[in-house]
């Protein structure tokens, strides 16, 4: 396993030669294991109710934003809009409110999503194993849960109150998801929150531990950079593009088969280049607020973060094709999920 010092040395060296060498290695491995294919998904925010106070997030319970939760009719409208773009993998997101978006609400959302999408993932507040099992049986294929930062002190500084301030409970969440039988787990760190080198080393160790304990799960990693919210800085992200690209390439060389996700937090130029360096999944045509696809006009929206790449699904598909990549819409076929 790579040491903290080795990670530090690699990320500290920003010479063009070292970046190019790492990119070459990453590109070769990515093509060998994934070929020239990129899976596409779209996020759908179901609710922005949140009972946690996290300094960097637009849904922070202390922020004065309009709180919205999609009802079933609205879910149909938003999902139908997304499905019409050709997207078949949906990521359902909520703020972290156990009251506003209880298990029954999440199951209802999955049940509706099944009518539109062969593959359903969720990014929601951490749950108990039995609850994850309920979601699995309802039709959830993947769960995304980021530790955000593995630095306990920094974690407590930015997660001020609410359930999310419980570091240990969040850290043990991937294990509970795995025990429930969920097929895909996405882990990640929020770049700009803590010391990136420390967080990266800790994330790798976490993934390694999960791979040993639960080898059958498809893992993917995300490296979201802190973004402005409605043009305002809530925290400064000091991760430059060189470091960001090196993180992707280094991750690819250390974990050849792991999925790496790239969201619309990143600018088109960077996204277009990153696809050949290790990225396997990217979001497209994303709205990052509740009701952002069909229900609300732009001026009435309160996003979780500002989107940097506003291209439509069709435009992303065309970009991929022009770069000789095959856009993969379907990467899973729903079968009845039965608990192990």
């Amino acid at each position: 396993m790579i040491t903290q010092k080795e990670i530090n040395d690699i990320l500290n060296d920003k010479s063009p030669e070292s970046v190019e060498a790492l990119a070459n290695a990453a590109r070769k491995i990515t093509e060998q294991y994934f070929g020239r294919t990129i899976s596409l998904y779209t996020p759908l925010y179901l609710s922005n109710y949140c009972s946690s106070k996290c300094t960097y997030c637009g849904f922070n319970s202390h922020n004065r934003i309009s709180r919205i939760k999609l009802n079933s009719d609205q879910m149909h409208q938003e999902m139908s809009h997304i499905a019409n773009t050709g997207i078949e993998n949906i990521l359902l997101l909520t703020g972290e409110s156990y009251q506003a978006t209880p298990l029954s609400y999440l199951k209802e959302a999955i049940t509706i999503a099944k009518q539109y999408f062969p593959s359903i993932s969720l990014e929601i507040h951490p749950l108990e194993t039995a609850e994850y099992q309920d979601l699995y049986c309802a039709g959830a294929d993947g769960i995304t849960v980021y530790q955000e930062t593995y630095d306990k002190i920094r974690y407590s500084q930015v997660h001020i109150s609410g359930k999310k301030s419980d570091y240990a409970y969040r850290l043990s969440t991937p294990q509970r998801i795995a025990e429930a039988g969920i097929r895909q787990i996405s882990l990640g760190i929020l770049l700009g929150l803590g010391d990136v080198k420390y967080d990266l080393c800790s994330l790798y160790a976490h993934l390694k531990k999960m791979e040993s304990a639960f080898p059958g799960i498809e893992y993917s990693l995300s490296f979201p950079r802190l973004r402005k919210i409605k043009g305002q800085d809530f925290a400064v992200c000091d991760i430059d593009d060189i470091t960001f690209i090196k993180i992707i390439c280094l991750t690819r060389t250390l974990f050849p088969r792991v999925g790496i996700n790239l969201s619309t937090r990143e600018k088109p130029l960077l996204r277009d280049h990153a696809i050949s360096l290790g990225i396997t999944r990217m979001s497209a045509g994303s709205a990052t607020c509740v009701g952002g696809y069909h229900l609300l006009t732009a001026e009435n929206q309160d996003p979780q973060f500002d989107v940097e790449d506003s291209r439509s699904v069709g435009e992303i598909v065309n970009m991929l094709k022009s770069k000789n990549y095959d856009p993969v819409m379907t990467d899973w076929r729903r079968i009845e999920n039965i608990p192990a």
């Binding site: 093509e31 060998q32 294991y33 994934f34 070929g35 020239r36 294919t37 499905a83 050709g86 997207i87 078949e88 062969p118 097929r183 791979e211 080898p215 059958g216 799960i217 498809e218 893992y219 088969r257 792991v258 094709k321 000789n324 990549y325 095959d326 856009p327 993969v328 819409m329 379907t330 990467d331 899973w332 076929r333 079968i335 009845e336 039965i338 192990a340």
Partner: protein, 269 residues
Amino acid sequence: MQGNNSNHIIAQDHPLEIAGKKFTNRFLLGTGKFKNKQELADCIQSSGTQIVTVALRRIDLEQSGESILPYIPKDVIILTNTSGARNAQEAVRIARLAKESGCGNWVKIEVINDSKYLLPDNNETIKATEILASEGFVVLPYITPDLYAARALVKAGAATVMPLASLIGSNQGLKAKEFIKILIEEMDVPIIVDAGIGAPSQAAETMEMGADAVLVNTAVATSANPALAAKAFSLAIEAGRLAYISRLPKQKDIADASSPLTGFLFEIS
């Protein structure tokens, strides 16, 4: 001259037979990792392959994207694979869904419960084979080469056995040679070597030792010119097959110019 007629030579071989269907081409193509679907179609044409394997998870049944199926000629067998199955039950459900979706009843069982090495789980594969073969599927199970597993699979109704040559996608070649040799020697069903074959020379070597067919994907799809690579594999597989049926002399460790031990018996005194 008859000896120069290649059709005459090939006529001395019998076609590969799986579940009553006969195949003259012994190159099977996987369909993942291609940069576009036309490139896959070009490979099918250039290689003359008659069986391609497609992951059900990648078949766009909703047809909201570009479906792979129109790129596969009607006379080519679609061998749906159960990629993504982690146990026998999931493989069975995927195979049934494939059949219901109109993808036919030929299924390559892939049960993988390790996302790092992607090695197949032989035990679960045997369980899935038992169920699917009894339901009338033509079952081609993908396994880590093991004699006991192969015997159990044939007993369960497998139409072939598909042992891996080395880790999938690795291009490492015939690392499991000695164990595959045992399967070729002992099993009465066709042995189709799958996974890890990274160069036509490795495919030829596999066929020379008596494998019935070879499946390749990564080495073709990730080459600079897939259609050319597919043809190279197809030719190498044919060459290896001809070498096998021609019963090449075995390699020797020492030079063997005459009969130094018994030659004296035949010398005229």
